[in-house]
Symmetry: C2
Subunit: 630 residues, 2 copies
């Protein structure tokens, strides 16, 4: 039995034995049918016989990876004498998932940096490393755009945000289909020029673009933005053409190397036939077609979605909803779009519409838990206890191990004012995913409801650590500092919240109040005017302006503001009362008396205070400055 082996000993250096290709074909087939155990067994045998073959090593490590044995794959790769780009990429992926970011970065960049240094010494060009990467063909990073995107992820996770942004941008420049990079950039607060990135002609999206101009982000949040624009503009003349050419290359020719495999053309045809129903149909011609087709349909969809996603990210919620309506119905009726729409309506405080979208999403795909935490917040605001309890059951039944599940359950107890229980479920949610920003914030508000400010602040800070653009947490911190009378800190935190969500009237109103408290009356007046402009239906902004005018001894302007507030909210006793006091200062005693009577009529329980004011109507003012906010 020993004899047959003597003649077939591995001869990796001279010719490649045919049974290597048979091994590889078998391993890939077993991977395709999820028989990882068999694939691993054969791949181990194959590597034993062909220890220097990169393809065999790739398949063994990939099988370990698929089976969840990341450290084992990583170790095996670390021992290999020479790593091909594909093996380096797999190694980086393993290290990334093992949270060994420095090692992952090294796998992707080490060889490149070496190559760059060699080229630099030979030619004296003044390129940066990143410029050199983009200008070199083929891209020197393993797996090109995917490698750059993975570097983006690595930098993001290791808190090197600027570099993350740079590499995401590079990856998107090489592959316009890398939606994940676009989404990451948007989530990081970078304003991406959507038509440019997706190669859609400016005219096509012009209507949407002019209707909803994207505000330039504040400098603090997107330090790299100028840089991008420059890079993109250099290519402007034929930019659309360039992007389309790249897109066609990616989609038709296969930009990324397919998994190493050995199928013949007939195999591919067979598999297609099989998929369509056991060899009954003829092989579909499209799979053997050449690259005549166009990619614009897909890019157009991505561009519209990207536009809407970016608008939502800048809290231009109505614009976002309008943009989504431009999608064909087949795309509008998907859970992802419904999720974004629900979020937009929630930001607009339109709870009924938000509920409709998110419930439709849940109906379409009950197993999709992303977004259900928002639905629970919608129910919470509407005080719908039964719906919230039923949603909690639903999410826990679908996936006990998801952070959304316990976030929803926590909200359920929060609505019942059982803060202890709510906090313990929120904590379970965070155990499952310590980066689940939303739960950190909800935890913070739960502590706030208990007047437990120290832990509340810790929660908000954690939320910001996981997502710097989570305005809710900045707002929560601002509220606490304001209550603690640390007005400068309150002002700073409200300002950060406003930078992220520039269209929120409520945030801006709070900012104005803290500016006033911090002694900046005139800035406060401007801020509150802007808040009033953003939502003319928000009486709080005008009321606060009236308070400031009154404090500045400008009762005329205070009266003007309060009159507008009264017209908008005629049943608010406090407004009438305050207006009465202002009229008194202006000497309009009859008007003042009418206001006090209206206030008394609307709010009999405060009658004592109002009566006292009426009694003192003829006495001079002493304490008008301190007005009671409603």
């Amino acid at each position: 039995m020993g004899a047959p082996f003597e003649t077939t000993r591995p001869q990796p250096k001279t010719t490649t034995p045919h049974h290597l290709s048979q091994y590889l074909s078998l391993i890939q087939q077993y991977m395709n049918v999820f028989r990882l155990d068999n694939a691993i067994f054969l791949a181990e045998r194959c590597v034993a016989e062909f220890p220097t073959d990169a393809t065999a090593l790739y398949w063994l490590c990939f099988a370990y990876y698929r089976a969840g044995q990341l450290s084992r794959a990583q170790h095996l790769l670390s021992k290999a004498a020479h790593l091909t780009p594909q093996l380096l990429y797999l190694s980086a992926q393993c290290s990334y998932e093992l949270k060994e970011y420095a090692r992952a970065e090294d796998a992707l960049l080490h060889d490149c940096r070496h190559q760059f240094k060699q080229q630099q010494s030979s030619s004296s060009q003044g390129h940066t490393f990143e410029e050199w990467i983009l200008q070199t063909t083929p891209c020197p990073i393993p797996n090109g755009a995917a490698g750059l995107a993975l570097l983006g992820d690595i930098f993001r996770k290791s808190n090197r945000t600027q570099r993350a942004i740079q590499y995401y941008q590079m990856s998107l420049q090489l592959d316009p289909f890398l939606w994940s990079s676009f989404q990451a950039l948007t989530d990081l607060g970078v304003t991406v020029d959507v038509p440019t990135v997706f190669g859609v002609s400016q005219t096509t999206t012009a209507a949407a673009a002019t209707k909803t101009p994207l505000q330039p982000p504040s400098p603090g949040l997107t330090p790299i933005h100028q840089n991008t624009t420059t890079t993109m503009e250099e290519e402007t003349p034929s930019h659309t053409t360039v992007v389309l050419r790249r897109a066609r290359q990616v989609a038709n020719r296969g930009y990324y190397p397919p998994s190493p495999e050995t199928p013949s053309l007939s195999t591919v045809t067979r598999s297609m036939r099989y998929l369509q129903g056991l060899g009954e149909a003829e092989p579909r011609s499209l799979f053997l077609e050449d690259e005549k087709g166009d990619v614009q349909t897909i890019l157009q969809t991505l561009a519209t979605m990207g536009q809407a996603y970016q608008e939502l990210s800048h809290y231009q919620c109505q614009a976002c909803l309008d943009t989504f309506k431009q999608l064909p119905l087949s795309h509008q009726n998907t859970s992802w779009v419904l999720h974004q729409q629900g979020k937009a309506y929630l930001e607009l405080n339109e709870f009924t519409a938000a509920q409709r979208c998110l419930e439709h999403m849940k109906h379409l795909e009950p197993g999709r838990l992303e977004g259900l935490e928002l639905l629970s917040t919608v129910y919470w605001h509407q005080k719908k206890e039964v719906d919230l309890a039923s949603l909690a059951q639903h999410v826990v039944a679908w996936d006990k191990r998801s952070p959304q599940a316990w976030c929803v359950v926590g909200n359920c107890f929060s609505l019942q004012k059982d803060h202890e229980a709510a906090l313990s479920f929120f904590k379970r949610s965070l155990q499952l995913d310590p980066d689940f920003t939303y739960t950190h914030t909800l935890c913070g508000y739960e502590y706030m409801a208990n007047e437990d400010f120290e832990p509340a602040m810790a929660c908000f800070r954690q939320a910001i650590r996981t997502n710097e653009r989570h305005y809710n947490a900045w707002y929560g911190l601002g509220c606490i500092y304001h209550r603690q009378e640390k007005y400068d800190l309150a002002e700073y935190h409200f300002e950060r919240a406003c930078q992220i969500h520039p269209t929120s009237s409520i945030l801006r109103c709070n900012w104005g109040i803290s500016q006033h408290a911090n002694g900046k009356a005139y800035q406060a007046l401007e801020t509150l005017a802007e808040a009033s402009r953003l939502d003319p239906g928000n009486p709080q902004a005008r009321f606060q302006r009236a308070t400031i005018y009154s404090a500045l001894h400008r009762p005329q302007e205070a009266a003007l503001e309060l009159e507008k507030v009264r017209d908008a909210a005629p049943r608010e006793a406090t407004v009438h009362f305050c207006l009465g006091k202002v009229y008194k200062r202006l000497g309009r005693l009859d008007d003042a008396m009418k206001c006090f009577l209206a206030a008394m009529d609307l709010d009999p329980k405060d009658s004592q205070m109002i009566k006292s004011a009426m009694d003192k109507l003829d006495n001079p003012d002493i304490d008008e400055e301190t007005m009671i906010p409603f």
Copy 2:
């Protein structure tokens, strides 16, 4: 912006838009580079546009599956109007991993059963369902042999062992490379005809086969074995040819459908070149070769390994070690083979050799935790505390979430006689994998060491529930029943252990002792004779025979056995003492005195008892029957 979409609305029924193939190409590329987020996003868009396309649905569900969202994939598949075999297989895989075995079985068998019933009513053939499956071409089960193997897994996990065996056998008949099915059959105690299954001619493995004849398994353990033999024998005339033809089909043409994809031939070539180092080398011709090559090299390797694996499964440990030596060195020097060799040496109680194999395995692949629990047992037996502690650190550092890690740590504390700590770590091991048989057994022994028999028995029963062929647990139960003087139960459990491990002298010896205690003296003598034959170096079997002869008042035969024991173990005081007493009964008082003196010399601490026997040498015997076992 709405306009472009009007013209490209999905038209699944008439012609297939080219951008469907572009979507599919992109999705597959992102899967290949582990960008599951991007693949899922694009697949969702693709399914929205082409809701009836099976390939698009497959990729979306496969992407969910890869991302660990099994319920979501399962739900999506359950809603589809028509499922192709590939989709049914994916659905079954999801259900299997979600432990929903009835649902998994239904996905694979429902359509087939329907088809079978229709055929049965039209033709009046008397085939069983399973015969019909094997005779129908192409195999009506989704993914053929892989589908049958998955059914084997499903039946095994749902405790339908006989059907599991049947389906594993069917899968192996269709695909001789399905090592996982072979291994499952062997682990279930089925004797597989190795040369037949792997299509290796009988003559090639004849040497090994005659040298180490496989014992037929006991009927209770392998009820289906006769069935197999019949099926195989029917094909004997051209069997090897048949297997080879099948093997060639699987390896060369691609028996399993590859993942649905759209690469052109040039793409495959490109990827190969890429893998070998960024387009430097020419495409390797082997990947475009046709099916001229032969599969015998691979099958030969599998046959040799299969032979060894089966021998080890029958505890023909020396034969197993000999068979492994027939492998080429490249295969011998792999961690899998070293693991099996280590196990074989451990079963032979050759701790030094076992340690050498398992340490070599650990050195080759530090990240391979399978088998390190055996190394910890080797250290335990050798009382190597330092090595065991260092091993415990190693496994915990590599993978805290593996059952092996905490099994080793438990052994570490067991050696230090800290039973409480050992038990708590063993329990952690079982939390991570409740089916990790070995830890159940170790738990049982730990409780036994504490004389805590009830929980010990519960542990041994759990071990048997997870693996009926784990002889160690049967042995543990036998020991407890023996100590509780429930000799019939002890006898039954020792017998089961002996059926599994027929070559163990120690197991058989215990069986004989319990037979004797149960009043079956003559059967006990036979059992002990066999135990003695299995390991002539084991003095316990002969000593027990002497005990029985003495109890049967046959001192002559008792003396003969004891003399042999004395010659083998001349420094055992008890043997001399017992021999002295037997000589006394035979009237050989001088010889008796010599024996007593020798015993006194070897074991001064029992001198009082020996002295008393010497004093009573001239008195007649009263209590010889009760002899002290050593």
